[in-house]
Symmetry: C2
Subunit: 295 residues, 2 copies
């Protein structure tokens, strides 16, 4: 069987399987077949849209259950227009793309919390955390809660630094950063940053606008003085956009049977391509499925 580009590398459903015997559903099939009740709409007030001057759009789901003060700051910065004109200043390969005020003197809007508390972790009480039950290098448990990837020591819980997660740049402690300087992970999950920085969200759409940028040539991937820097043309919360323009996204619910089925199918791949299913999955390979809301 010859497949164009050996697309079989990823997913066998694209192959003409012919008279294939019945088999377990693939992860993609589980997602495609998941019922409406398996999905939760991201609240419009928690969806941050960055329209870049490159014409690309980045949509970020915010996680107020984990970093409420930082996220209140981010919403205030967004609504006051502070992010408009802010540039991407750092793209470090296999690490982060980071944006913020390169002049470091743009005035903050009134009401900003200059020194938020260290929202690096929270009580696991009330979180409906569902551990996956697989080993993890960094935490006693990893799993999901409310559509987020979470690690826990049993008592506390925190978001995990995975591809596409968004965090708050900061200086040395006890400064935790205001939320004016943000980064998105564009490489292997730098989980050593967990519990050391406030994570505030996840890029749901437009990762390519952040990950496919030229890498910065200075130390830490900072762009050289004078290098072209993509800028945020306008940042908005979806809740503040005209109704007709609002993008919408759904994340698969962590408590949905479809999600457990998806996780199991990802951990134990049974499609025709896989010779030896792993029988396990790393939390950063278990980012909950996302889909745009159909209009």
């Amino acid at each position: 069987m010859k497949s164009h580009l050996r697309a079989a590398l990823l997913l066998s459903p694209l192959l003409a399987i012919g008279a294939a015997p019945p088999r377990a559903a693939t992860p993609g099939e589980v997602v495609a077949l998941a019922p409406a009740e398996a999905w939760a709409t991201v609240p419009a007030a928690d969806l941050l849209v960055l329209d870049l001057d490159t014409g690309q759009r980045v949509v970020i789901a915010l996680a107020p259950a984990f970093a409420p003060v930082h996220i209140a700051n981010i919403k205030l910065l967004t609504r006051s227009g502070w992010f408009d004109g802010i540039t991407i200043n750092r793209v470090q390969d296999n690490y982060v793309t980071q944006w913020g005020d390169v002049t470091e003197n743009k005035a903050m809007p009134a009401g900003i919390v200059a020194n938020p508390p260290p929202e690096y972790e929270r009580s696991s009480a009330g979180l409906a955390f569902r551990p996956m039950g697989y080993r993890d290098a960094y935490a006693a448990q990893t799993g999901h809660a409310g559509g987020w990837t979470v690690a826990s020591d049993g008592r506390l819980a925190w978001l995990t630094h995975c591809y596409g997660m968004v965090g708050v740049g900061r200086n040395l402690a006890p400064d935790t950063g205001t939320g004016a300087e943000l980064y998105a992970v564009i490489g292997h999950g730098p989980r050593h940053l967990d519990r050391n920085i406030a994570l505030v969200g996840r890029v749901l759409s437009g990762m390519d606008a952040l990950a496919a940028l030229p890498r910065g040539t200075e130390a830490l991937g900072v762009y050289r003085e004078g290098a072209a820097r993509p800028a945020i043309r306008i940042a908005r919360l979806v809740a503040d956009m005209p109704a007709a323009d609002r993008p919408g996204y759904e994340v698969m619910r962590s408590d949905a049977p479809s999600f457990r089925q998806w996780l199991a199918a990802r951990a134990d791949r049974k499609d025709d391509f896989f010779i030896r299913p792993a029988g396990a999955i790393d939390i950063c390979n278990a980012m909950p499925p996302v889909r745009p809301v159909k209009r």
Copy 2:
């Protein structure tokens, strides 16, 4: 303390620390101070140089200890000029960049092994495998051997799918791919592919030429018909290049005291930025340090 771009996000040594107290070396400091004997030169016959028509260069260290038949094929394909003109056809965000013969009818050179054995794992005997001792979702043990990241079940050992690793696209089993179709990992380590595909090497330089490409818009990140595709202008083994032009790279030896020190410093970050060192490290965050050979 105000640092430009909050560079403290990554490494505190860039900050003016002032009268900081003595502290443990950072990973970067361990690398900078490692003695010459901590480094092993990659053999020129195992260094594959891809010069792209974008002007960028990708240098890949091949791993003949793990996939000798596939790598003999890759060397034959290189030396016969087969890779010259080959295009990048697939860039899937958080997964792989893949190159090969989009026409699927370019004649193979004489001597190619059409169906290599499944070099997905090998005996751990004779490998001088050094386990790190941290938990891993996918394997009983992870660690290093000969400058490579390795997983093992005690009896067998295999290379791990981490950012920058290069593997062989294939169809459904028992076809293992010839080595004419290759991919590099550009996202979180897809470790579920371990033991399912032959890994053949690691990109030592030029990852940005593969990871910063526009993502393909078709299924699986395949570029649309007619989309611009970067091409390999010329592929060469360093051993076949004129002596004056040869790039050289060194990888830190897995058995060097400096390497153990680097691993410990990465697992237990003690610089001023880190509040809570992880006390552990995932194998894909433990890719051995690489440096160009000074001339």
